[in-house]
Symmetry: C2
Subunit: 490 residues, 2 copies
């Protein structure tokens, strides 16, 4: 056998745009998703974990360029020349699953899905090519009760993970109302309709006066560039502006304003009726406009969805990178879409769903102090005497039996300082110390590392003497004393 060529050492790095998640990053996300899953389950939604790999054919319509199927997704050819790809969201797989299993699934089918998706896009700061999505959808019913249910469930989910009532609002709008408004403008030329839609999308940024200018002659933007307008006259623009600003002091008032905005449009009236039905169904369950509100200024997603559209915003303030207070903003969105399954089966199947931005919501919980970046480390039993390893193992065994996270130091025990440095790096709350003297006396030393660190940083000599952070207790009292210290720390 020829001697194999010596290969250079591979680089130890994640591919560009990918990252690893450590410790609390994993467990806090899992806990949050678990809490959300509990709410979804209570609403009768079933878990679905679809294959991470799909045929490009099944994802097809979501791909921008069919000649280069790995544009936007990570794709490769199977041994039988079929193109496979990593799912890039959880909606396209739902469409495939529903079409494939529709005879075995209940109708309507309520399902939730949580897991990573992959995007073959240019990574940037905070933009990764693998990230989590968390979706819930109801497939197979056109009933507005399904839309109302998803809004209620979203509100419940936010409260369940720790966003208090008053710190969030779910805003509801309707694409059909917008269509009615378009009819009311009298604009029928598709390109001009599209231009109106694009302008509405800018409402978040440029506000009412900006939209008025952009619908008309045009607008000088902040950079000094002149943006051409759509060219509507004031009468044509009026319904659009009425729509965007129709939110009133009560749901009844908002709905009345919307009825004015859509005028005689049949689709528009239908859209307003749908919003009214959603509001009334929600009111019956006690969800008032303090939690879920009809708000026609929500324009995000209006182009994508076909009926009701919703968005959950967190209304508390955080400081932006320049230290200025601003609202936290959107953490979830969804709506009704009716062309989910048709490309597989030819049949239109109505569906409505919501997607929670997992990383956004985690960031919000961090901002609210609901979760911390570091979890409490284990109690560390230090090794003073290598030959006593069985005794140290017995100690951690007892601690774990009592449900206390604990470990023996398993590095080189020669330098005690390294053991304390290790405990520090682990975020350990307590260290146990027992050498020959302690074993002879039948005791252990228990060091409160949190208190110790506080004292080292702040205390006067007197305090230091009064508040010892190290205790000698009988060996049999080890677990009780550790439990006491942990209880005091938390």
């Amino acid at each position: 056998m020829a001697k194999p060529k010596k290969e250079p050492r591979p680089k130890a790095e994640t591919p560009k745009g990918f990252r690893d998640y450590f410790g609390a990053e994993v467990t806090t996300r899992a806990a949050m998703l678990n809490a959300i899953a509990g709410v979804y389950h209570r609403y009768g939604f079933d878990a679905l974990e679809s294959s991470a790999v799909e045929t490009v054919e099944a994802l097809g319509k979501f791909l921008p360029d069919v000649d280069r199927p790995n544009e936007g997704v990570f794709a490769w050819q199977d041994e039988d020349e079929k193109w496979l790809a990593l799912r890039y969201d959880l909606t396209a797989p739902l469409a495939r699953v529903y079409a494939q299993h529709r005879n075995d699934l209940p109708t309507p089918y309520r399902r939730y899905a949580m897991g990573p998706v992959w995007r073959n896009e240019k990574p940037g700061p905070g933009r990764f090519r693998q990230f989590y999505q968390c979706d819930a959808d109801t497939v197979g019913t056109a009933s507005m009760a399904a839309d109302a249910e998803i809004c209620a469930m979203l509100a419940d989910a936010l409260e369940e993970v720790g966003i208090p009532r008053g710190d969030y609002v779910v805003r509801v709008n309707n694409r059909k109302v917008l269509n009615g408004v378009l009819e009311a403008t009298g604009v029928t030329e598709p390109d001009q309709q599209a231009a109106v839609l694009r302008t509405i999308d800018k409402f978040d940024k440029v506000g009412e006066s900006g939209v008025r200018e952009l619908l008309g002659k045009g607008r000088l933007d902040a950079s000094g560039a002149y943006i051409d307008g759509v060219g509507l006259n004031e009468d044509q623009a009026a319904p659009v502006l009425a729509f965007l600003t129709s939110k009133g002091g009560s749901t009844a008032e908002t709905l009345a304003n919307l009825r004015v905005a859509v005028g005689a449009s049949e689709m528009g009236v239908q859209g307003v009726n749908e919003l009214e039905e959603i509001a009334s169904l929600l009111a019956a369950q006690g969800y008032g406009p303090d939690r879920i509100v009809i708000d026609p200024s929500v324009v995000r997603g209006l182009g994508y969805y076909t009926g009701p559209v919703f968005e959950a915003e967190l209304t508390f303030e955080i400081l932006d990178e320049k230290g200025r207070p601003r609202q936290f903003g959107s953490v979830a969105g969804g709506g009704r879409y009716d062309d989910l399954v048709a490309r597989f089966t030819g049949q239109q199947v109505p569906a409505v769903g919501v997607s929670i931005g997992v990383d956004r919501l985690l960031a919000a919980l961090h901002a609210k102090g609901k979760i911390s970046g570091a979890e409490r480390g284990p109690v560390v039993v230090t090794v003073m005497d290598r030959d006593r390893m069985a005794d140290y193992q017995a100690m951690v065994g007892e601690l774990r039996q009592a449900g206390i996270r604990a470990e023996v130091y398993l590095g080189n025990p020669k330098h005690f300082g390294n053991q304390m440095k290790y405990a520090d790096r682990r975020g350990s709350p307590v260290a146990i110390i027992a050498g020959g003297d302690e074993f002879a006396k039948g005791v252990v030393q228990i060091k409160d590392l949190i208190l110790g660190a506080q004292i080292a940083e702040n205390a006067t000599v007197e305090e230091w003497k009064e508040r010892p952070s190290q205790y000698e207790v009988p060996r049999a009292g080890l677990v009780d004393k550790v439990r006491d210290i942990l209880a005091e720390q938390s």
Copy 2:
């Protein structure tokens, strides 16, 4: 713009070898992994979720054929021509992560990881190209306390998920003892050593007499074919047979037998000492040979690992496909391996780990009746009157507030029979029925679907009259009555 060609409809199917997981399949696995994670966490292990995508370079040495990097793994070329691949286990990523982050990680580094891995292999019945792994490893210590700890943790994890003590045993062997035995045989020629190792691997199948024949002149196998032997004489074969059969009535006896088998081999003696140390550390924590036992007949993985090797076996019986009772068998395995990180850094880093076969353990829990394939469905509030939807929503709202899984029927309510069929398909325990009469009287009908099904199947007319499965209760008593029925059912 040219009219786009009409494409044929895509097939709604998972790629070959992939599958979807529904409902209880997802939640029971998640619950099991969550319970295991709790045990691992208590032992001081930190969660790690590495990127699902790695550079082929980082996975490189695990690939059988470097000229065809997508052999065995799913691989593709990135836009900058780099080959990327889906991880095919959780060990190769651990090596990359540890090499990449070693300056920020504690030493030793205890980590657990749970998640899907992907194999580009020929799928078969029950063999999928995406499946879960569940690993725990300690990197950076040669101490046998790490090995003992992992064995104890594995035993705890099995009990935590529902395998009772007595129904499992963790068997421990040591590659170093085997190396010592090889020395004792006097076989030095590498090909002949390899032949001895291959023969030992067959011990599970052919037993002591089979191995004796195969080490010597050869053996007529069950199919009538003659298998050539390794050609050792009886003196040479004796240490191997002594090794494989050295399990005694007590740990002390087993260790004494092993000392005889390894003779003067220094490495063999070291291996026996390691096993002795593990047994003594475990005894100190109360893990006797009823749970973790030194057992030199464990040969699986001996070729791969460099020190202690362990395997968890479930000892209860199940019926095989022909209805014959057999032991459930192995659900986890692991051992010590020391070349994890060296290919990245050039430094040998000692490590020890264990991997639980997620699907195997789930199958075992099913076999023991610890989990069932179906979960209890939601209470279904039926729709007798479309205009009362708000009232029905209020009912499910109250039930959910009380923590009861509940939903309104959102399909077409026209045929009541379809609603009951839906409830049946959902596995619903209870249906709520309220039409005009009920609303007028201020009551609801509550149907116990489980009892109803039992009565329909088994009861006499008398029983049927005595045990009504449908109750009329005041509207205000809805939640209490449902709770009572659910409590009786469980």
